[in-house]
């Protein structure tokens, strides 16, 4: 991401259910802010309904769910379905945490775009989001005129 882009990527981060391990989500939040993104923290102990409602009000581009509990096989498909139903189909849904391999096909089929398992390099997450965002901006109608606030330095 170009530093101080006038249209930074907005991502909502949240945890579902009762799992309150925050080290992972904290590290990712810091890393994405450092990558120039606007991170909206929706909190812990959220339900899929609350996350979807927040994502739409905030008009985020991406929803990132941190999961270290077994409940994700039920809650994530529900979240993806609600997102489609409520007009948020253009939003990217990604998940990070402890996701056993045998659960991954189910989540992908349900609409999770990308799964980052525990120990993923945060730079890989930032790079993935950045590439996705640049591609989306390029696909959008002709780039709107950027507004330089200062002349370029020599």
């Amino acid at each position: 991401m170009t530093a101080k882009s006038s249209r930074p990527l907005r991502i909502l981060l949240a945890k579902l259910g009762l799992d309150t391990h925050t080290v992972g989500i904290t590290v990712v939040a810091h890393a994405l802010r450092e990558a120039g993104m606007e991170v909206i923290f929706a909190g812990l102990k959220q339900t899929p309904e609350m996350v979807v409602s927040a994502a739409i009000q905030e008009d985020v581009d991406v929803i990132g769910i941190s999961s270290l509990s077994a409940g994700h096989t039920r809650s994530l498909p529900r979240l993806a379905r609600l997102l489609r139903e409520q007009g948020g189909a253009d939003k990217l849904l990604i998940v990070g945490g402890v996701i056993p391999e045998e659960d991954q096909p189910l989540l992908e089929a349900a609409g999770v775009a990308r799964i980052f398992t525990m120990g993923t390099d945060t730079r890989e997450i930032a790079r993935y989001l950045n590439d996705w965002w640049l591609a989306r901006l390029a696909r959008a109608e002709p780039a709107t005129r950027t507004e330089p606030s200062a002349p370029p330095r020599q």
Partner: protein
């Protein structure tokens, strides 16, 4: 009218959210929507909430939402947090306190980063207020960054400015009080179950009393109310005070005047920004003026003389 404009006026959440995004991103489509909805604005009561960090502003906003909903009002909230000056990124976390209203269709909460703007708000906070106003929210609560005494842009934006204070903040309160006391319409002393609340309360009352004697603002005496926002205590009286202030503004004709001032403020700010941009673009196209701009970077000329010289050349 654009689809987004129509949907927004019909109160559709996703449409309003998208319009705010465009305005925040300075996407030209945002301006177009704003033009369409402008005639439908002017109804919402804009309330600014400011105060030092640690005053519990978000929790207080959460309590005010609850009370306003109990009175049947639809509530919009804009919570502003600082963006990193280095990367432009931000972690916006105020809405956590308000998540219990996440499923209430009468509540819309939006987080915004300051994106380089000083003064406790973002450049597009006012625009976002207009969108929420046009969507039919009766009250729009704007929670500022709230860092210190100079974070008072909110005063020119809101009808009613609420200053949140808490006991136990120490010396820094003195400095903050000096700046904020002048501009507050309603004072809320939060965490009133804490030690030291009596002392802070007495100090504030004395200062407000002295301010009341200035005579000019005699018609409205800013009330000081005690609250324990975590338990919702004092919320009813706080909302009463907000309504009383709105009624006072309407009765005295200030409500309309203030909106006009706000609009004028935005008008001049927009002019300033656009004029600067165009002047610079034009300057950089011509070698003589481009050299002048380069001289500023190279410290060969002082910035004031350079600005005068450029204005003279463009016959302004």
């Amino acid at each position: 009218m654009t689809d987004i404009g129509c949907a927004l006026l019909a109160g559709q959440v996703a449409a309003g959210a998208r319009a705010i995004r465009w305005l925040d991103d300075q996407d030209p489509r945002g301006r177009e929507v704003l033009r369409e909805i402008f005639p439908h604005t002017g109804r919402a009561h804009l309330v600014g909430i400011t105060g030092p960090p640690g005053a519990g502003k978000s929790t207080l906003v959460d309590a005010l939402i609850g009370e306003q909903r109990a009175r049947g009002r639809r509530v919009g909230v804009i919570a502003v947090d600082p963006s990193s000056p280095f990367t432009g990124g931000a972690i916006l976390g105020d809405r956590v306190r308000m998540q219990r209203h996440a499923l209430d269709e009468g509540v819309f909460v939006r987080s915004m980063g300051t994106r380089g703007q000083a003064g406790g708000l973002s450049r597009s906070t006012y625009d976002a207020c207009l969108v929420l106003d046009a969507m039919g929210y009766d009250v729009v609560l704007v929670e500022t960054v709230g860092v210190g005494q100079d974070e008072i842009d909110i005063v020119s934006l809101a009808h009613t400015t609420v200053i949140v204070m808490v006991p136990g903040l120490g010396d820094e309160v003195q400095a903050i009080k000096a700046g904020l006391l002048e501009v507050g319409d309603v004072f809320l002393l939060n965490k009133a179950d804490r030690d030291g609340v009596e002392q802070v309360g007495r100090e504030l009352e004395l200062m407000l009393h002295l301010r009341g004697q200035d005579g000019e603002a005699a018609a409205w005496r800013p009330p000081l109310l005690r609250m324990v926002a975590t338990r919702g205590e004092g919320t009813g009286a706080a909302v009463d005070a907000l309504e009383a202030h709105a009624a006072h503004l309407r009765a005295s004709g200030q409500y309309q005047r203030q909106a006009g001032l706000r609009s004028y403020h935005q008008f001049t700010a927009t002019l300033r920004e656009a004029a600067t941009r165009r002047l610079l673009e034009r300057a950089l196209r011509h070698s003589a003026t481009a050299a002048l701009v380069a001289d500023v970077h190279d410290l060969k000329v002082d910035p004031y003389s350079a600005a005068e010289a450029l204005l003279a050349q463009t016959e302004l």
